[in-house]
């Protein structure tokens, strides 16, 4: 590209937003609720932390409306660590997202773990300089989020359970739907776009590339190094760990173990080694035992 096309510097482009997620690949992003936890996460080798008021397990246990965190708490975490800091806004709550951008967070998670603020619309993420990550249970949902400007996708699991089964279901669904698209004839992609409820151009791009145009992590229910490694082998490009670390017996050691297991996700010897002596994993809840209205992954449309 010639210099005449880029006379000045520009911020907030799709490339720097999506590029930021590329830099997180092969890494672990950890939920933290205090500066002390953020330091433990950074010490363990996290590529970023997710600042939130309550981890999903507590949101689930305590109930009530769950919102963006207190700005003081986010500031405290931003000054405690040098790695990127993400924070959650409610689905559709564009003002919470504006506040998070103004606080200087590095990524906003428009998250189903918080109580949705809009049951029809997600945030118009193109309007922001800060990039967004959004959850998805299937390819259509992922492509709708990308259309709204998401620069990173995380396949949803059932947050706060320590049960990895939903994470595997959603990752397999998304990857399977992408594989199916790559097998379709070009004139079949119009109907595929209709069925996916996603724009044709984006569907065509995914069919040609065999992957999403943005990085895809996994999230929800990951509690052990083996859980994280399995999700990587299933095609995740990195892992969000929520309650799994700080609801366990030895968070520092478990955090470090999950970081190592993600890098060496295809090496059972390493995973076996790092899985030793971690103490209690989070107790967990079986997703099947959670009544339908309390399942977080089903929020988002």
């Amino acid at each position: 590209m010639s210099s005449s096309e880029s006379p000045t510097s520009v911020t907030g482009t799709a490339r720097v937003k999506r590029g930021m997620a590329e830099m997180l690949k092969g890494g672990v992003i950890m939920d933290v609720v205090t500066p002390e936890q953020a330091k433990i996460a950074e010490d363990a080798g996290a590529v970023a932390v997710m600042a939130l008021e309550r981890v999903p397990a507590d949101i689930r246990a305590q109930g009530g409306v769950s919102r963006m965190s207190d700005p003081d708490m986010i500031d405290g975490i931003i000054s405690a660590v040098s790695i990127p800091v993400m924070a959650k806004a409610r689905i559709g709550h564009f003002v919470e997202a504006q506040v998070l951008q103004s606080l200087g967070v590095d990524y906003v998670d428009e998250s189903e773990v918080l109580t949705p603020a809009d049951y029809a619309n997600h945030i118009d993420k193109w309007a922001f300089t800060v990039p967004f990550v959004c959850g998805a249970t299937n390819l259509g949902e992922a492509l709708r989020r990308i259309t709204e400007g998401a620069a990173m996708i995380r396949s949803k699991g059932e947050a706060g359970t320590g049960d990895v089964s939903n994470a595997t279901t959603h990752m397999r669904t998304i990857r399977g739907e992408i594989r199916r698209l790559t097998s379709l004839a070009e004139d079949e992609l119009f109907v595929a776009a209709k069925e996916l409820q996603a724009p044709y151009d984006l569907v065509k791009e995914v069919a040609a590339a065999g992957k999403l145009p943005v990085v895809m992590f996994t999230a929800g229910g990951i509690a052990t190094p083996a859980d994280a490694a399995m999700m990587m082998q299933l095609g995740a490009e990195g892992v969000f760990v929520g309650s799994g670390i700080f609801k366990s017996g030895n968070p520092a050691q478990r955090a470090a173990a999950i970081v190592k297991a993600v890098t060496f996700h295809d090496d059972p010897d390493v995973i076996a080694k790092v899985s030793r002596g971690l103490g209690e994993a989070m107790v967990g809840i079986n997703v099947e035992e959670i009544p339908q209205p309390h399942r977080l992954a089903e929020r988002g449309w």
Partner: protein
């Protein structure tokens, strides 16, 4: 010629494809024995504190330092530039680097993600138009030793004049990510360094 990409964390795939498009055999390196099989190394973009942590844990820090001292060509982008610096500012106190290029690098120097930007950068030694450079929570170089050539600076915007590309012998570093833009000139320049080494 075998070029490895340090695959502890970061945008490994983009560097592997940029090298493949530059017609060289590239492979990921995560273990000391994989390092032994390559003639040169690329350190990708990513989180430098994570890379440092994993390089220490998995026994790569000293072997890579030794190979660099022995003349192995290395190219680092962004976090890779930090990993090549002798002095890192605004890093973690326990952060280690491969300490190849005699320079002081400031981590996240341009600011947080909302300050990440694209801008033009001219690179000495690489002919053609300015690079359309992508900076993501990028570092800059604050000081260089006598052996280091400054190859590029930001040419426009508020950060104009900042050093963002350097070379010392067989070691090359950029604060930006040519692997994200499909412009292969930096990778080809590095491959040429490897050929001549």
């Amino acid at each position: 010629m075998n070029i490895g990409v340090l695959a502890l964390q970061g945008d490994v795939r983009e560097h592997l494809s940029a090298l493949a498009e530059s017609d060289v055999l590239a492979r990921p390196v995560r273990r000391p024995e994989e390092l032994d099989q390559v003639d040169a190394l690329v350190i990708p973009g990513g989180e430098s504190t994570t890379m440092s942590n994993l390089a220490i844990t998995f026994g790569l820090l000293e072997p890579i330092r030794k190979r660099i001292a022995g003349g192995m060509p290395v190219y680092g982008s962004c976090a890779g530039m930090i990993m090549l610096a002798t002095t890192v500012l605004d890093g973690r106190p326990d952060q280690e680097s491969f300490a190849g290029i005699d320079m002081t690098v400031r981590r996240n120097a341009f600011g947080r993600q909302v300050d990440s930007f694209e801008a033009g950068v001219a690179i000495d030694d690489i002919p053609g138009d300015d690079f359309h450079a992508v900076f993501i929570r990028a570092p800059w170089v604050e000081q260089v030793g006598p052996e280091v050539s400054v190859l590029g600076r930001v040419t426009s915007g508020p950060a104009a004049g900042r050093i963002v590309a350097v070379r010392q012998g067989n070691l090359l570093a950029t604060a930006f990510h040519p692997e994200l833009t499909g412009d292969l000139r930096v990778h080809r320049y590095f491959v040429e360094i490897v050929r001549q080494s």
